[in-house]
Symmetry: C2
Subunit: 585 residues, 2 copies
């Protein structure tokens, strides 16, 4: 029980020197990668650079205690940072203390929500986000983020909540491009793209491979940061209009629990929920992908608690919303991390950086951070998924395209809400029309099959229909319509037999529909029968009055039903071609 809520108890007692070495190596690599990322995502979220560092310390320690993934690395990520900027931007101006308070509160509320969902075992709620919706949402977010970083690379002022506003604003300011900024931004971006695709092959050619090569490749952003910071310092580029990070407070954050403010909390609740769900979906899929490679288990509900705890820890230590990041978790995994302790060591590394390295960041150009973001998010944009989804399913394509368009046109919050709404509506639409088959008897057998696919014998007085789905409220009305129309269309029908071999559940709505169908058929002089009802479904029906009121019977098999309702035809069909059918088998 204790182990379930504290997975650390699973691995800490058997922690070996060998694991320590592996975890420390992984922690060093992830720390090097995380420093520029933390600063960059804070910039993306519209927050001071140090907030990014704060969000990369306490959350990692808390995740190490509560997380069930051995290798997941939490921290600031691109999409959550964009969503933070959108939500906080609705409440206050970027740069104001209220803006920062809102961002911290987002992490706090989202953490409480995640932990609450975990304790109530509500992980299934993440299913509301279908894959086309999350994929479309991430693609659109990537495009918006890339567009939002262009201003830092061009060195102009521009803003907007959606792609259109951003591009319009950029266009209006194109005349004010700052050339030194542009030079830094473009060269950093080019270098990072080059490092991402060409550096590893190059090193392999000169004989560097394995872990050292991976460390060097992952450290490319650090090289970019160092080189451009040196350039900005040496040539005093700030005086020539290059935006730099400036003073970053040295030292660890103070721990503060956000004050309760009913009005502010209510305003922030919906964005916090959206960040929670999007962050959780990302986290769980990264965690599962990595765990499966080593045949380890993930507990999705415990992951909610762990991610919730990490966000509360982030908020309490002055950070903003965090999520399990894909790239950094893969790096952690590849670098050989064995336990979540690697995360705690990474936290220690970031804490050291916060204590001692921040003065070095004074001259860091914002354009370099923007380049880091650009390169990271463009890998999120997957327009090919549109084509693949179109080929596979038009409905799923519609959901994906709508999510992308709404996100690009109206911002991330409306985008995700529209996507979720559409997923639910499409799901309801699909389940509201279950597969049904009118069935007839296969000559020479006791089997009943779809009349549209098989040569079968039917009796005009008996309407036999098989429902290949549980009966619950989304399809309850469909069943009413189906039987109503069948009986209205064919005045010869005297009996309706509902064949239920695939019905695993009849909920209260469907029961009410069955009662209505039974009563209506009775008024029309038609009896209703059931056949092949599963045991648990029958038990449940026995607890209602339905079986007492049923005008017909419940038959064990469809053959029994037809043998009772139309004995002559049924027995003749069974006998007549029996020899032929048997011979043909």
């Amino acid at each position: 029980m204790l182990k379930r809520y504290f997975p650390i108890l699973d691995w800490a007692p058997g922690y070996s020197r060998h694991m320590l070495t592996d975890d420390l190596v992984a922690a060093v690599i992830v720390t090097i990668m995380l420093i520029p990322q933390s600063l960059a995502y804070a910039l993306l979220a519209g927050l001071p650079a140090e907030v990014g560092l704060y969000a990369s310390i306490a959350p990692l320690v808390v995740y190490a205690v509560f997380g069930t993934s051995r290798t997941l690395a939490v921290g600031p990520v691109a999409v959550a940072s964009l969503m933070t900027a959108a939500a906080a931007g609705e409440l206050a101006a970027q740069g104001s203390p209220e803006y920062q308070t809102a961002a911290i509160l987002l992490a706090f509320l989202s953490g409480l929500m995640l932990a609450g969902m975990g304790l109530l075992r509500l992980g299934f709620l993440a299913n509301f986000l279908s894959h086309p919706v999350i994929s479309g949402f991430i693609t659109a977010s990537g495009l918006i983020i890339a567009a939002s970083q262009l201003k830092h690379i061009l060195g102009v002022e521009a803003q907007g909540h959606n792609l259109y506003e951003l591009l319009l604003s950029l266009g209006a300011h194109l005349g004010q491009v700052n050339l030194p900024t542009l030079a830094i931004g473009v060269s950093a971006t080019a270098f990072l793209f080059w490092a991402r695709s060409r550096l590893m092959p190059l090193m392999a050619r000169v004989g560097i491979a394995g872990k050292p090569a991976a460390v060097i490749a992952r450290a490319a952003p650090v090289f970019a940061v160092a080189a451009t910071t040196a350039a900005a310092w040496g040539w005093d580029l700030a005086a020539r209009g290059v935006a730099i990070v400036g003073e970053v407070p040295q030292g660890l954050p103070a721990l503060v629990v956000p004050a309760f403010d009913a009005g502010l909390w209510a305003q922030i609740a919906i964005p916090a929920l959206l960040i929670s769900i999007v962050g959780y979906v990302e986290t769980i899929s990264v965690a599962q992908t990595l765990a499966a490679k080593r045949r380890q288990r993930i507990d999705p509900d415990q992951e909610l608690i762990a991610l919730g705890g990490a966000n509360v820890a982030s908020a309490v230590s002055g950070g903003f919303p965090v999520t399990g990041g894909f790239a950094r978790s893969v790096v952690n995994f590849d670098a050989g991390a064995q336990t979540p302790a690697a995360g705690a060591y990474t936290a220690a590394g970031i804490a050291m950086a916060t204590l001692f390295l921040t003065p070095l960041l004074y001259f860091l150009p914002k354009a370099t951070l923007a380049a880091t973001i650009m390169v990271a998010v463009l890998s999120l944009v997957d327009l090919g998924a549109l084509r693949r989804t179109w080929d596979y399913s038009k409905t799923d394509f519609a959901a994906m395209a709508a999510t992308i368009l709404v996100t690009l046109g109206f911002g991330v919050e409306l985008g995700i809400v529209a996507g979720v709404g559409l997923s639910v509506v499409l799901h309801l639409y699909r389940t509201s029309t279950p597969h049904v088959a009118v069935v007839g008897q296969v000559p020479g057998t006791e089997h009943f099959r779809n009349i549209e696919r098989h040569e079968v014998v039917t009796v005009p007085e008996v309407y036999s229909v098989r429902v290949d789905e549980s009966l619950y409220f989304p399809n309850a009305r469909f069943l009413e319509d189906l039987i109503n129309d069948a009986v209205a269309d064919d005045p010869r029908i005297r009996h309706v037999v509902l064949m239920c071999p695939a019905v695993n559940l009849i909920d209260a709505s469907a029961l009410e529909s069955l009662e209505a169908i039974n009563a209506r058929l009775r008024d029309a002089g038609v009896t209703l029968h059931l056949s092949e009802v599963k045991g648990p479904v029958m038990d449940r029906l026995g607890r209602s009055h339905f079986l007492d009121e049923l005008t017909g019977q419940v038959f064990l098999t469809q053959f029994d039903a037809l043998a009772a309702l139309a004995p002559e035809v049924t027995r003749a069909t069974y006998a007549a071609d029996r020899r032929t059918a048997a011979a043909g088998m």
Copy 2:
């Protein structure tokens, strides 16, 4: 095509003298019943009495043109009137012109929404309202309505948006009870209850039966209206504090299209949508119940258009939201209405009353109308349903109880929203955990069955699992968890076979999950296979890259899969007990 959108073309050409007689008789009876009801529901909605009459003219004519039900009677009903009062009350004070404008606009918007949903064939959206939710909502509404009418019967001032506020306010004003009002209210209520249960048996005993008896019984509210109006006039009860209807404008309403006001329309959109959906669900179930008795068809999407048209007509002629009413439709049906023309004749009857009878309503006590409402709505309250649903399904009971409590405690709008939300969440929860069975081979056969229910043979290297549900986004993650955990728990597993005989659909989310499962299993050195995939599902999979990347194969049958993956055990199982098994069959 034209007939689909104008069902009147179906019946009008064959309209006979015999039908005319039947329809006229029914129209007279419904008109008698509808006059006091129209006035009463206008009172309940917080509107002037004449608005109730207006809502019972044009909508009936429009429904006659567009409706597919031969016997449905539309007009003001209790629940929609309560919802109108709640929505309009949030925008303006009862009695103000703004309040009346809001009520009219509710009908207009709700009409446009319904018609729009009908044209887009979105009738399935009504499935969002599960039966326990609608039943709980109507019960709670009935209780609130009854409580809200107590003030008219006691002759005191009281108000509130939920049951608690109403009862509190009533309690605070109990000292101001007006005795003449109380006498009228209590005696009218007692008379109506008596007439409802005892009048028919009494008439039967004195030899009055059939249609005349039905007319007399249905006219009981008219007697109450006439008697109490005469009393109020004769004894000048208005001077003694009895609230009376007062001056009702004579003549037909002017036709006015509501002006467009973006702000007001936006405020009213959600309540209008809720009224639409609740009204539609009521309408369609009444229509289907009656149609089935005569084996007639209802087109649910066309009913949306007809009800939408009726509401637009109501708004344009100064009325408020209308719905297909249960009691009056049954009366119409029982009285022998043959076609929707009966509704048009009823409209003519109400129009005549509006033209000539309104002066007679001057002295009508409001307490009498309140008594009419009380008697009508208490038949909606079905607390027994709570018990029945509890016995049948705890989940459905939870949805019903939550809807009742939220409606009573926080008003109708939150009540219906909470109910719909809960239904969707419960549905998602149910579909997120489909039924799955780990299967093994039945000795002596090629059949594979659930290992928990049958004596079967399994092979440790092969994990065979059957999913009894389509694979779509609500359960996609479940499948990932299931296979992930199985492979993590049993290191002997080398092959996973997914048996898909019940899978009718694999959506894009599930495809993505299958791809993830395939990739993860590959990384863990396990191959993934499918078996018994249905034709259409296979066709669709062929349009993706999944089959190219699949590490294993797609087998026609589960037996083929096992015969290929573990040939010795499988063939031995097939052969070993074959004779025994065959003998036992």
